[in-house]
Symmetry: C2
């Protein structure tokens, strides 16, 4: 498969670079790097532990370091920048796009930040300050200021002449923006229209006014939704008086989508999406300890429930054998519902208008599967222990726990969102707490009532 | 926050449409829909249960149905298409892009598929057959055939005249492709270069030959990586003799990235990424039952381990209270490692060259956290039961389980990938099986040896 070939390529490159570094053949390593582009070098750096990573970084020229920086994750980037002087940082990031510079600067200590800002020329500083005046996760924070603007009342011939005079266009330029004399956004002039329309046509008649500009305070997620819905390549960003501030390009949007996906995936395990896979043992252990501590508290709650029924277990030790099954099935069924609901909420599909329908549906699914697995599990228990009463208790507890699991899978994330808690982060642990507590309580409680 | 406003908008639209449908006001519902574009209507349809969804669908005109179809998830789309006649399907999908038509056709029964194909005109059928000859998840399956080609030895003036004659360009056209007389790919001519270079320049001198074309059998994932690394908007797709077959555009790549992210997220809960959130209770229950059944088997394995030690539990019922803590902490620690490793492998960061390093690191993290939580948990147990020996057993079992969890978190996904099992799907369940079995066995085994 081509994919594995590509992955193998990286692994072979890694191996070669590691060997070169291990044998101290810096020149050979430099040669290996010369054949790669900056995103590939970033990938190599992300794939190595701290020591060789540092050596490799030092082998790169200043310009190349800047190019590589924009492709690195926050944590790895931070580790390089924190060892550099302000003027070095300024020199390294000089050639980058405004939004990437803004991203990088925001991670630096305030003092370094100010010094880097001072060492830039006036125009770049102003551009940067515009971008920096918006939060990182808004349209304003995502934008670049490299827009090309034209007036509505000139002809396409004039536009063409202007573009030829200008030479190079910024990356991912699929359209020019049309602004009036006070810099207010009027419309979008696709390059395709410049090429295919009559040269005598006015910009006004060749432009499209059906593509809206994005207000600078729009949330990054919503920007991504807009780009996906309208299949945009680039879009204008405006202030609250419709003045053009900059533009967002699809590559920045792809980053937003990637980051969001990483967040959903990693936060359910209590991990940060910027976490460096190859971070040192100490810092990794410290960060993960916190999540284990939270989990311990929830596990102690479940244990406290079991403790109530210690005499029952003493009387019927088989209960201890069977009780993890109830808890485990509840956890799995609940997390299926939770995963669907959290995703549905993130996509805007589940909200006030259909939350009740969703609850009804999931509880019906939970009850159906509860019935099915109650029969199976009750049968297994009755057979294993040759005890029909025990089988009955097992079946009832299973039905109860799968129903509660379904309800919790819908209600917990909805309640969390209302309370401004990220359900992708806290949902899964809260859910298993519910299914453990309910599972143990119903199973051991019923056993105490009916078997003792 | 703007994001929640957008989500609220959808919820308000949903509410309005639901009310219109409930009161039988079809005309009013039609009016509501007229103000929306096709991606928004698709979003509404995805956000409703089967009955109102069907009513809403019937309100759409044939052309609009086609537009909406391309934005729907596989399962929802399938539910509409399966109720249509072949000629209706053909009429509805007529105006779509080739790759979208190919996607839709592949979901249809073979007979319908053939009939739809026959009802198309010759040119469209041929284009479609080119795309259909490649698997859906390769560059060939993703591509469109709407390329615009130019020869290397004409001037830009000729290109400009040709484009004006042609009129409209296909969506997301940021460049033309340069081919020789036998249709072999030679290079890429960015629209920006057509605009900014001298009209007398030859295409050959204005084109870029540093942007590679993508072989048709390249895996979709790798196509996405290429687009991201090189910040591409579109790319040429070629056969194994370098002949131009079509082009891939960034919007298709964004879909690949989204699908992959959804897959990672949903498959760990045993869910399919195409699953309809609002599917009927019966089919949802049936699909999820399978995953619960697999889980039951693993839970029974854990129970079988506990059963070995039933006499021990009879003697010391407190063991039953404490044992879920060991299993739970192992599961959480292991899933942190597993999540990082599965993601690292998907990104190509973890492979043969550094798997051993990763194992060492994670085992060190596991041992460190094992020591920390062994002390805490051992202390809690000793205090709770006023029994130092029990505390010691608890601490030892915790240390063992967190170390094994770390090793399993690294080794399981690596072994699964070698065996061609998707670690995103099976990893999490396999891991908790290991941590449950090891946790119960080490805790109860040590207790049997040391406490009885």
């Amino acid at each position: 498969m081509p994919e594995s070939i590509e992955k193998q390529d990286l692994q072979l490159q890694l191996q070669a670079v590691h060997e070169a570094l291990d044998s101290g053949a810096a020149n050979h390593a430099r040669q290996l790097l010369a054949g790669l582009d900056s995103s590939e070098v970033a990938h190599l750096l992300e794939s190595m532990p701290g020591k060789p990573r540092k050596v490799l970084w030092e082998l790169l020229s200043e310009d190349f370091q800047g190019d590589v920086l924009q492709y690195l994750g926050d944590e790895v980037r931070q580790s390089f920048l924190s060892r550099m002087q302000p003027d070095e940082v300024a020199a390294v990031i000089e050639g980058l796009e405004t939004d990437d510079i803004a991203d990088i600067l925001q991670e630096l200590p305030d003092q370094v930040f100010q010094q880097v800002l001072l060492s830039m020329d006036e125009q770049n500083r102003q551009r940067l300050q515009t971008v920096l005046s918006f939060p990182e996760d808004t349209a304003g924070g995502l934008m670049n200021t490299d827009t090309i603007t034209v007036r509505p009342d000139v002809t396409l011939e004039v536009v063409l002449r202007y573009l030829r005079l200008r030479g190079e266009l910024p990356e991912a330029t699929d359209s020019l923006f049309v602004v009036d004399s006070s810099d207010r956004f009027v419309g979008v002039l696709p390059l395709a229209n410049v090429l295919t329309r009559h040269q005598d046509d006015l910009v006004r008649s060749a432009m499209r006014d059906d593509i809206e500009a994005i207000p600078a305070d729009t949330d990054a997620q919503e920007v991504a939704t807009l780009f996906e819905r309208r299949d945009l390549i680039s879009a204008a960003v405006i202030d609250d008086e419709d003045r053009l501030l900059g533009r967002i390009t699809i590559d920045d949007v792809v980053d937003v989508i990637r980051d969001e996906a990483e967040h959903s995936l990693l936060s359910s395990a209590g991990l940060d999406e910027d976490e460096d896979t190859f971070a040192p043992v100490g810092s990794s252990a410290r960060r993960r300890a916190l999540w284990l501590g939270v989990n311990l508290l929830t596990a102690l709650m479940a244990s406290a429930v079991i403790k109530i029924f210690e005499p029952t277990i003493q009387a019927v030790a088989g209960l201890a054998v069977l009780m993890p099954i109830i808890a485990s099935m509840g956890g799995i069924a609940g997390s299926q519902t939770l995963t669907l609901v959290v995703r549905g909420m993130a996509l805007g599909r589940i909200g006030d208008s259909n939350a009740r329908w969703m609850l009804g549906k999931e509880m019906a699914v939970g009850a159906l599967n509860g019935l099915l697995w109650a029969l199976v599990v009750g049968g297994v228990a009755a057979f294993w222990y040759d005890d029909y009463a025990l089988g009955g208790v097992m079946a009832m507890a299973m039905l109860i726990n799968l129903s509660i699991a379904a309800a919790a899978g819908v209600l917990l994330p909805i309640a969390m969102e209302k309370a401004n808690i990220d359900p992708a982060l806290a949902g899964s642990m809260a859910l298993t707490t519910v299914t453990d507590v309910v599972g143990f309580f119903s199973f051991l409680g019923l056993a105490t009532l009916l078997l003792i």
